[in-house]
Symmetry: C2
């Protein structure tokens, strides 16, 4: 892994709103009101695959996926969680954690490419953000 | 988690061929020659979400996803790994680990629902299975 500073891929920066930082990962909220949808980006320059991370970072990422899962469940009613590291288009390692509902626009299909992103009404996004930050609690810091 | 014996969901049994067992998970090969595609099913009755597993099992699953990733890379040329726990259709917790190539039928889309499954020519499937089992090595046992 090159000793470069971490910087967020411009496509991820454009598609999301920052929530905060966990010990390893930056947490982002997808700008898509169709689903409460978090993205975790480990702050490790050059990482593409989960197996590019060292064992300790893989364990941290696992814990942070669980923290994001619990935060989503606490902040938004949902029937199922979807967790995925795909990265065929944006190579920077990032993990989707998506709260799915049986009445969401893509159900039961996966969310990628299923329905056009729907912008958040700003006050609804702010309210969700407040609930998410409260649900993460002290493990989440502002970058 | 109910104290029931583990049994594989009939849909997963129908769509796959067993590769072997890791410490926690049954390893299955998807019956789809479009992509080298493994599925890990933690042998815990009633588990639906990764966060349904205890912390030790989550750590084991993380290690087994890495073992499956390395085995796929060793057994089949690939450009990208896709790792996902979705489960909107089959609720039994299962994790997809898919070896993707830029010339595969779905690239760069995710594989789910993208292209009809293509049956393996039996000798090609047997050869892939042999390479996969060799790549897993002693961590893989026969159920």
């Amino acid at each position: 892994m090159p000793a470069l500073p971490f910087s967020l891929h411009p496509q991820l920066a454009q598609d999301t709103t920052p929530v905060g930082d966990l010990a390893l990962s930056r947490v982002l909220l997808m700008n898509d009101a169709c689903y409460p949808w978090l993205i975790l980006v480990p702050r490790r320059a050059g990482a593409v695959e989960i197996v590019d991370l060292g064992d300790d970072d893989q364990a941290l990422l696992t814990r942070e996926i669980a923290q994001a899962s619990h935060a989503l469940r606490a902040a938004a009613a949902c029937d199922k969680l979807n967790v995925a590291a795909i990265g065929n288009v944006v190579p920077q390692l990032h993990v989707h954690v998506v709260a799915r509902r049986r009445d969401d626009p893509a159900w039961p299909r996966p969310v990628w490419g299923a329905a056009p992103a729907r912008p958040y009404e700003p006050s609804l996004r702010d309210a969700l953000m407040t609930r998410l930050r409260a649900a993460f609690g002290a493990v989440l810091t502002q970058p």
